[in-house]
Symmetry: none
Subunit: 222 residues, 4 copies
């Protein structure tokens, strides 16, 4: 909408990234055409290639830069937190807040991994693993200290991340709830979810032998 017609100079690249994020968020990588993107930026589609090398590289750059930033800021948010509950609360608050601010980036980084070419995919999954391990470590520490209780750390990690990341499918600024309320709602859910508590009314569960977090496999391709 902010069509800076005949966009020029070093601002063009930034405009491409911003428009790219929005279009991929809305339509998906495969469904976004470079013509659309160029039109959004206000240039001819061929002119995009003065700034990007391929469509695939654009996606890769967007995702990689996002995850790097995410990791950097997460580590800052966790700084100084001592006990597992504080860490977990900080993790949730950071994650939710960040996702409300950068919902395009976050959504894309989760949903468009399958659009990455193998080499790029490997690189991103490695980065993502680092982020997941931060949460897994917090949970493991809490379990070890008896503060938390989960059936399986890996499953809990994935589940909590899915829960938190779900925000960017429905959050829109100016909605019914304030950001703080949304953060609080998620803190309650997550903190409670790992609290020692009501045993499920089932028995003979094969307990997870390992609590190290395994790499998620890539969905099989043909």
């Amino acid at each position: 909408m902010a069509r800076t017609i005949g966009s020029h100079g070093p601002k063009t690249m930034e405009a491409i990234r911003k428009a790219g994020l929005r279009l991929i968020f809305e339509h998906g990588y495969a469904a976004m055409s470079l013509r659309q993107l160029a039109a959004e930026v206000g240039i001819q589609s061929g002119s995009l290639y003065n700034h990007i090398s391929t469509k695939q590289e654009l996606l890769f750059d967007l995702v990689r830069d996002h995850i790097n930033e995410l990791l950097r800021q997460l580590d800052r948010a966790l700084l100084g937190k001592q006990n597992p509950a504080d860490k977990l609360r900080a993790f949730v608050a950071f994650h939710v807040t960040y996702h409300m601010t950068k919902k395009h980036e976050v959504f894309i980084a989760n949903s468009e991994l399958r659009s990455l070419e193998p080499k790029n995919y490997e690189a991103i999954v490695a980065l993502r693993g680092a982020y997941e391990r931060r949460l897994a470590a917090i949970l493991a520490e809490g379990v070890a200290e008896g503060e938390f209780e989960v059936v399986d750390i890996q499953v809990a990690t994935f589940a909590i991340l899915a829960l938190l990341t779900g925000i960017c499918t429905w959050y829109r600024p100016g909605g019914r709830l304030t950001k703080q309320a949304i953060v609080a709602a998620h803190e309650k859910l997550v903190l409670s979810s790992v609290a020692p508590g009501p045993a499920p009314d089932r028995t003979n569960i094969k307990r997870a032998p390992s609590r190290s977090i395994a790499a998620r496999g890539r969905p099989e391709r043909r």
Copy 2:
């Protein structure tokens, strides 16, 4: 000349649906070409049109049929459950189990809504709303009876659904955990998450005025 190779007879439609589910799951709707799909089935792409009317209709049918089936089976799973905790446990068990069995369908029904044309989109969102309302109602009942505690029912509904649906991004049969273990892990997480419990260490939260579940807006399009 005709019918040299490839499947034929009434089995073809089923083969198309199955291959379509897998290909859309792997590559996404936009990135799946009908040539790919036809090749998977063992026919020419033109022959697909003896069975489907358009690519879009195929997606719509797959998603609609899935959600209808989901609702039907959910209602059966909830049959006879009386108190909110039992209902919630049944919901989780059903949802997780179903998602492990039909991960392609479930994933597509969540991730490819944006690929539906407006009319189809509306129809599906309406169906999905019915499913969401089942969970929202359980939570509301539990809160009313003092069994559950959440900051906001709508947020909790979306969060729990996101948590549960996350399974289909990583589940693979034959993995480290049995199905029952996975179900149990999720039951623990979800049941705990809404248990009356550790107050978040924040105050003055603007409480949600309404607990009716609002329709999620569709992401704005151009």
Copy 3:
């Protein structure tokens, strides 16, 4: 010119090949666009892909099929010739005649080798080597029997082939000379060129140590 509008069925492939030969002959492979080619055939450019897999494959097929045919017919033309002079005369007559009939194919097979991708290039050069070796063998035999005299067999082979192949840059049916006259002119030139005869008025020439024909190197690429 023979634009069979809306060309259909199995004739299309033949039309593509014929038009492709002419257009590559006239403009060169790189300068021929598939739109041009399709227009010539009377179809849309996308429709070409019902018959060819890529532009490069079209070139490769045209060149390979031509060289195979050339070899086949050469061997037939040489059948039964006993002494080197008869063989050489037959070679010249065949080569010249063939080149007048198929000047497009011949020209392309010589001038567009550089447009072949490495793998295709290797395959064609191997085939071409077989053709060159036929002539080299005739010359070697003639030299051994004292009927011919050349300074270097490899150089003579390349030179004679260049001489003979030059025809397709200027020959046009209906010109000043009959085909027979053209053949006779070339027979005279080639037969004389290797006849024992006027020593060049130079001395101390480093004689060629080997008379085996070496593979021509591919022009270096970047």
Copy 4:
């Protein structure tokens, strides 16, 4: 900001010509992009236009300058030669030597005529005609004096030129033969080829009525 890397000053034009010759030789005019050329020279493609006016003009200049130089040097090489055989030997020696030194220029001047726009094409063909006429005149003189025997002077002219020009498709310095040996090999072939000699074993050939050399037609275009 400007002039960070890459050649500059008056040497740039020479670098462009040299790189252009090599790239056209290797890939052909149509397949050489100005980006490639600029990269080779070490500048941006836009900067080429400080030195050339269009891609087409670059080709034209390269070809024209080459042919002019060729003519100039040929005339110097023929200076003082009296009888046809000496002239022909001098022609061959000059041509072969020159082609070994300037194989890029020679090859392009022969193979890229079709890439010239009509006006440029006419100009070059006129120049080339002058060169061809030098050889045709030598042959005619030799035939008139009874020193040479050919079936048709025009055909012989074209054939000998093709033979001699073939060198630049295979010559590479440092190969098996010395330059002198290569020259000698070609002198033998050419001098012998026009020597009165073995009548072809055919009869009733329609003799060429004219011995003036006709202009080669340009290949028909669309």
